[in-house]
Amino acid sequence: MGAVSLRETQLHLARRDGYKTTRCDTMSMQSDNVQPPDNTSHWHRAAVRSAFVAGLFSAVVCALLVYEYCLRPAEDPLETADYMAMKSLLLHQRDNEEIRGSVTRIDLRARNEYFRHRKFVAIGALLLAGGLAVCVIAVRSAATLQRRLPMPELQATPVDLETQWTGVGRWSVAVLAGLLIVVTAVAWCAFKTDLPQDSKDLAAFLESLSAGTPDDAPGVTPDDTPDDAPDAAPPSAEEIAKNWHRFRGPGGRGVSAYTNVPDSWNVATGENILWKTPVPMPGMNSPVVWGNRIFLTGADENQRKVYCFDVDGGKILWETEVAAPDSPAEPPGSIDFTGYAAPTVTTDGRRVFAMFANGDLAGFDYQGKQVWARSLGLPVNCYGHAASLAMYGGLLLVQFDQGASAKKALSKFYAIDGATGETRWEVARPVPNSWTSPIVINHEDREQIITCCDPWVISYNPKNGKELWRADALGGECGPSPVYAGGLLHVGNEYCRWTAIRPDGEGDVSETDKIVWSADDGLPDTCCPVVTEELVFLLPATSYLTCYDAKTGENLWEFEFEEDVFTSSPSLVGNRLYLFADEGKVFIMEFDRTEAREVARADLGEECATSPAFQDGRIYIRGEKHLFCIGK
């Protein structure tokens, strides 16, 4: 019965809609076959055609988009090596119109290209979406217009399909389960971790981590010191006190050990000028003196040289060009304010060490032979690298702050073996670029390296670089180096404040009583302060010399200069301050707790931006062009 009604239904439907039957199994269907009405096939054909056209259109658009995507240069055209090279070439040949023209052209092309690409993709996406929509609609209409009813065969006996497919299904589910296990196992094998995976491992690992930087780090154990021991023994405290071994002398304090230096001279007449020697290459570093030798450096964008002068007569004993094997090919940019050789050299009495604005660092023996040279990499510094070097025993200390923002994490502090140039330890510093120089102090039998940068004053253990304490005391661009005197550390910079810190803290001491006092007036931008047990003298570039009580921070007096600008840091000789102004004028002042008096005035006759070195009866000062020896 069912079969009859089925057949009837099928024929009925076929006749009504005129559809071709698909699986025709009876003769009667053949005879009853009716041609489909014309208008349906007409519409169907139209739908197929428009689907085809829309599909083709979409495919073309899609292909164009993919082509555009593939064509896109892998590298930002404004960051390609060629373009960068051309731009830095323009830096040095500012008048070269040809380079300027091609820089402008490439730049314009890249920018236009960017906007063209964006427009292309936006329009392409819309066209593609539209094309696909039309295509889908057309295809669907075509499919609907051509829709046919199936003509299932009649089954004499029903087939038990379900038993069949569920059986296969169970097995395939099992296979899937197996596959999932395999995938899991593969993932397990593929992702291995280096981190501890059970609590015991974790404890051991954390243990090893804190033990990894013991106070006697492997780098400085006696076993590792070089064999040439007699030569490599670091200079004694007495030797250091007698000489002028670094920027601003012993401790970086700018305090002369000798009071018998002249307070008047005349460059024009030669009065009290023992000698005056031209320095072949420019540099803003200051002279360093050890025994009978004076060291300083000079550099331009291609060449870096270390000079050794004889204290008697001022003859250049030797000059050696620095040849670091991994020196960057490119000169540093943005050095207008500091030059290519701002860092002052340092010496341990056996070797002299020099650093330059391009990150090259080298050690020389006293005969002028380069012992080692390496590059710390081109510093990212908006005014040029300027931090001077410091020594701790046989270790050369390099404060290598760089980067516009601390977030770039480029800044480092290196302790380098003076004999070999190998890094003994290094620590990352959470600071941007700075222009201060590190000092080594010994406060209550704790030796510390003090570094200054925005915003942290950070103290390190010189043996292993472990941070001892830090204080949030600075802000912005830091020029003045820290000074330690009378048990207090004096730090500060312009636009922030001046702070005295007791350097016996641990951790972050910013909000603790280790901050003894702070003050806001007369903040220097470049010049380092002079600090005695009682007084602090601050010298901003312009305006006033300001004096504070070193223990309390009480503002004692201010001394106003007329128009003079100072870059050179002040120095203390006995009870007198020696101030070298940029134009070459030298002010010699006496002071007490109530006022300062100008007692003498001299002139160098040329511009001066460096700090003097004081020895027995002599002042060594580098002018813009000459090295002067002032003495009787």
Binding site: S5, V136, P152, T166, V173, P325, P430, G479
Partner: protein
């Protein structure tokens, strides 16, 4: 050296307002002498939240209409037009967010982390289709979900996927559901949203990979009906389960089935079940024994799943920011040790050795942005490692939960495939049926109901009795 600024200094020193000086700005803010007025900060306000209520209303209306079209009017055309509307509104206009599929994760997260803020709209968006499904079947999938609608529209030439394969691949949706829920509870990753294949299409842009991924789904969707809905969609998996007990459900014939078999191949989603044939007594006995064995097997499978899932600890932990950072720091530590070692043995300069070591380790730089930031932050590395360890252990637990869930799903599916239900008529498989209404047209009963063919065909159905 800061003479760059010095040109402006003398005047500016006077200009620094006392209050501003306390701030950490490097350059003081000038006080202007002309009548220049300092601009306001350009802020943007969040989009009007009422849009979302409108979306919710749209989904509600859509669900009502879809249920009406599918169950009462039995109008395929209505459903189709509703699909188009859904693609236009929820898809292209609202760019595919908020959607109930993604809301699974928000709900999962709020269950595990009470501090997580979940908007009411998202909860309502999640619950509404579930409630509708309990009463009307998967009418949400039929025409309201824009993802389903897109696939519905492109399914032009669907081929029949064998039922056994269809059932097996359908399990993947449950696996994906488990994975997505487990990962969502960590608050780190919303995988469903991250790998939504069609959202890039709705936004007419996105990452190249996601566009290709979505494009592939569309192309496959022309030949395999609704591949995402059937084999991946985690929400579809939940709806399928609820649909089993729905009060009403779409029917193929409007009245009685006459067993004409015309609809046999009508469903592009393999959701039409044919009448069953009675089995022989032996087979039935076999079947019963198999069923008993599989029920016993279920807990075993769950156990195996828990065991195997434990292996996922490390792979899953890679989704975690802290763990990735700790891994990176450890890796950088290894590089540093290597450099130290070589510097001491060769005496070459550190920077040169770094170059070599970076090359050997396949790295371009010593640090990544994240590790550089961590180093600057000054946070103790011990804390990082400890935290990463805790997180990793947590992922181990999650992995075991996931494994157990997958074991359960597989076991239940095996049991499902071993249970025999008796059917006299052609019926939609309630789990798989998305109520799209394609089968209506194939049913002679429907043609009679619409008055396209003469005669009360429905009455003939009685002849079977």
């Amino acid at each position: 050296m800061i003479r760059l600024l010095r040109t402006m200094l003398p005047l500016m020193l006077l200009l620094i307002a006392a209050d501003v000086a306390t701030a950490q700005t490097v350059i003081p803010i000038p006080r202007f002498i002309t009548d220049y007025e300092i601009l306001d900060v350009q802020l943007t306000q969040a989009r009007d939240g009422r849009w979302e209520y409108l979306d919710l209303a749209a989904v509600f209306v859509g669900l009502v209409l879809a249920s009406y079209f599918a169950l009462v009017r039995r109008s395929r055309r209505g459903l189709f037009l509703l699909s188009i509307a859904s693609i236009a509104w929820l898809g292209f206009w609202r760019e595919g967010c908020v959607c109930p599929i993604g809301a699974i994760q928000n709900v999962a997260l709020v269950m595990s982390d009470s501090s997580y803020a979940i908007p009411t709209v998202v909860v309502a968006m999640f619950v509404l289709p579930l409630v509708f499904t309990l009463f009307f079947g998967r009418t949400f999938c039929a025409a309201v979900c824009p993802l389903g609608a897109v696939q519905e529209v492109v399914a032009v030439r669907p081929v029949k996927v064998p039922a056994w394969l269809d059932q097996t691949l359908g399990l993947l949706a449950y696996v994906y559901l488990g994975l997505a829920v487990v990962m969502a509870t960590t608050g780190e990753s919303f995988l469903i949203c991250r790998y939504d294949p069609f959202v890039a299409l709705f936004r007419l842009g996105g990452s190249f990979n996601m566009l290709v991924f979505g494009g592939c789904f569309l192309v496959v969707g022309v030949f395999v009906g609704r591949p995402y809905c059937r084999y991946l969609c985690p929400y579809g998996a939940i709806l399928g389960l609820l649909s089993k007990v729905s009060k009403w459900h779409v029917k193929i014939p409007p009245e009685e089935c006459i067993q004409c078999r015309l609809c046999e191949d009508a469903c592009p989603y393999g959701a039409i079940r044919e009448p069953t044939v009675d089995q022989t007594a032996t087979r039935r006995r076999h079947g019963r024994r198999r069923l008993a064995a599989l029920i016993v097997l279920l807990p075993v499978l769950v156990g195996v799943g828990v065991g195997v899932g434990g292996l996922l600890k490390v792979p899953l932990s890679r989704f975690d920011f802290t763990v990735r950072l700790a891994e990176r720091m450890r890796f950088e530590g290894r590089m540093e040790e290597e450099v130290q070692r070589r510097v001491q043995s060769t005496g070459l300069s550190g920077s040169k050795i770094w170059g070599e070591v970076l090359d050997e380790y396949g790295q371009e730089e010593r640090t990544t942005d994240a590790s550089a930031d961590f180093r600057v932050s000054g946070q103790p590395i011990e804390e990082l490692y400890r935290h990463a360890y805790d997180r990793t252990m947590h992922y181990g637990t999650l992995g075991r939960w996931l494994g157990g869930w997958v074991g359960l799903v597989i076991g239940v599916k095996l049991i499902y495939l071993a249970v025999r239900r008796r059917r006299r008529d052609y019926q939609p498989d309630r789990t798989g049926c998305v109520a799209c209404g394609r089968c209506f047209w194939y049913c002679p009963g429907e043609h009679a109901r619409q008055g396209w063919i003469a005669g009360p065909i429905a009455g003939q159905g009685d002849s079977r009795l």
